[in-house]
Symmetry: none
Subunit: 211 residues, 4 copies
DNA sequence: AATGAATGAGGCTTCATTCAT
DNA sequence: TATGAATGAAGCCTCATTCAT
């Protein structure tokens, strides 16, 4: 009983907390549920995190890290634009299947009503990919591969909007249902086909012309 | 004390409740806050709604109605595809400016972890527009105006995904910030320019070719 | 709407209130239930009674009046002791069948935790019959009809105790059940036989000897 | 704050709850009052009892146990009928002096308007003593000690009715007052004398003849 | 004078947080 | 150091009472 929490136990706390927050929201999540699911006492959580909010933030950070990692796994500056997009869409589908809770967590973040905090989080989460996508679009525009009239920022925005909705479609109950309604069950169930359709739509949207 | 809540007061309850729910979520919203903001007593709310949940549902219904109405204001089957899309984007921007709480409410709905309820709501909310968009796309495909390879459902899905993210960008703190990060403050602030970019991206995405 | 409550309506209020108080107790009774059952508005009750407590007291008074009346119907100083007791037992059975709520009301009174009020009520309700029974016993003792060793007050007390329990047995759910358990369903259902047994027990208890 | 409520504290909760319920009834009793009187927080009560009702039932059970115990202390099948009755009356007087709240609790139970529950409770509480008394009477009848005409069940019923009213007289404000009115303060105050009178009345009532 | 909707204090219950062991 | 029971503030809801019509 006088042993320090192992790293595994600490990780389990975050993992279970993430699931609980992702599922029930910040207010709905219960500390005692988290403790029970993680196999630790409520008290020990307060040794590692000052309060519920700090635990939540830790889960958020972990989720962001995973999201970043998932993105970078798709990465590769050397890829062609179509390949890059294909890889990103693909990676999203895989990541959502593996760890839907992290994407649900992302969705929870966006419900925050604290403007200051929202700003801060957006800065951390969105800035890097915004830059990466914008740069890629600019590069492609210079190479004459895509629509020159398109504002690079706006293009990145629309692209990421589609990616984000794909996240939600694969991780949040409501959006999953919505995807089925729009695409039909069959297409919704086929990651490959839907991915292809999406890549096609995005490339078209950006005004991509081969060669 | 008034003999009976005026229609205005009743409407104010829903309005304030919607704001409270939209901002804090179902769990976070406080009945006493709502009552105070609506200028009524806590008790009277229970004369009109059996409990917190029923009040929430009333707010949801009202929000959905507004959303539908906003959509139909853009409507017009007779419009050309570009005009229709332009109108929808436009209408979204106006509606979000006028009643951001209804769109925030929508966002709250999607956080529900009750699968059954999510299903039901998605059916009510999404089915009609899904059908409308799909039909419009099919029609345009028959007329040879847009990409014939595109699955109509998927096209409608991607289109509505972009619309939904526009809603969020104009009504939820986090997404607003995110839009600024992607597009820059200037473009984010110009509804007109951003709208044009978006219409362009969508038309391209659908593979629209004039004539 | 500008008409005064008729006497019937006023009586109905008391009647329904009595039933409600008798069934649910003072705390459990609901003013709105009473109003609804009496076919009047809640407000008008407050025109006749200052508050819930006063209404309760009015019901208590009415109940006491009925109880007294029921007793006096049995009355008759001229009767022989056995006849008097027989008449009282009989009358109790009839009254309980007709108006169980008044006896339930009595039971409710006795749960009061306000010592002062209990004292006052006991004085009003019990003093007269205590005196009457005591006198009757003294008279019978002088005539050598019953046990001279018995304290007249104690005798009256035991006699009335048995009467009171008979009240309860015929009007309160719990005591009805209890009667069945003790006496068996058959005897419990036969007012006549049980009454005879009780008269016999009482006369024996008082040490009554004919002639 | 204590690591765990001691047994004493747990007992105190039940004790204080019993007093509160006994005094004010189920509806009238307040959880916060109970907590305060027991020197614990409101919350901890919910660690031991799911809700107010469960706490009430625990108090009822405790009270019933005490009542049974008090009865069995008087017990003794080997005693003569007069001795048995004397012991029961005696024991009742002692128990009421020691723990009036348990008898008040009993009184509260009988006010329940839930027929099903009343039935159940009556079965548990009354059946055993009903049987014991009835058997004792039958035995005495066989030995020719008491009135053969008396229905054993009815006799047990009348006997227990007198016992019950004695309980109430010694524990509930109203009935205490009533006893004074009937018997006079002096006799009411003398447990011994009143007890003797009561035993005499009962034995007479049963038609007891020595030898 | 009767109505019944509005009021708001108060009750039960939950759960984030504390702290004795 | 980990435990998990105890704490108590805060939330939902009820209902006796008020008062505009």
């Amino acid at each position: 009983m006088l042993k320090k929490l192992t790293e595994d136990q600490q990780a389990l706390i975050i993992e279970q907390a993430t699931c609980e927050f992702a599922e029930k929201g910040y207010k709905g999540a219960g500390l005692s549920t988290i403790a029970k699911n993680a196999g630790v006492s409520v008290g020990v959580i307060y040794k590692y995190y000052a309060d519920k909010e700090e635990l939540f933030h830790a889960c958020v950070s972990k989720s962001i890290d995973y999201l970043d990692e998932a993105l970078s796994r798709a990465g590769g500056e050397d890829k062609s634009l179509p390949d890059m997009i294909r890889a990103l869409v693909n990676q999203t589908q895989v990541a959502c299947r593996e760890r839907p809770e992290y994407f649900r967590m992302y969705h929870q973040i966006t419900t925050s009503d604290d403007a200051e905090q929202a700003k801060e989080l957006a800065e951390i989460i969105e800035r890097p990919s915004a830059k990466a996508y914008k740069d890629a679009i600019r590069r492609a525009q210079k190479e004459g591969l895509i629509d020159g009239q398109l504002d690079a920022g706006a293009g990145a925005f629309f692209f990421d909007n589609l990616m984000m909705m794909l996240h939600y479609a694969y991780s949040c109950t409501y959006y999953t249902e919505r995807m089925s309604i729009y695409c039909g069950k069959k297409l919704a169930a086929s990651e490959k086909k839907l991915g292809e359709q999406m890549v096609r739509f995005i490339l078209n949207g950006l005004g991509y012309k081969e060669r």
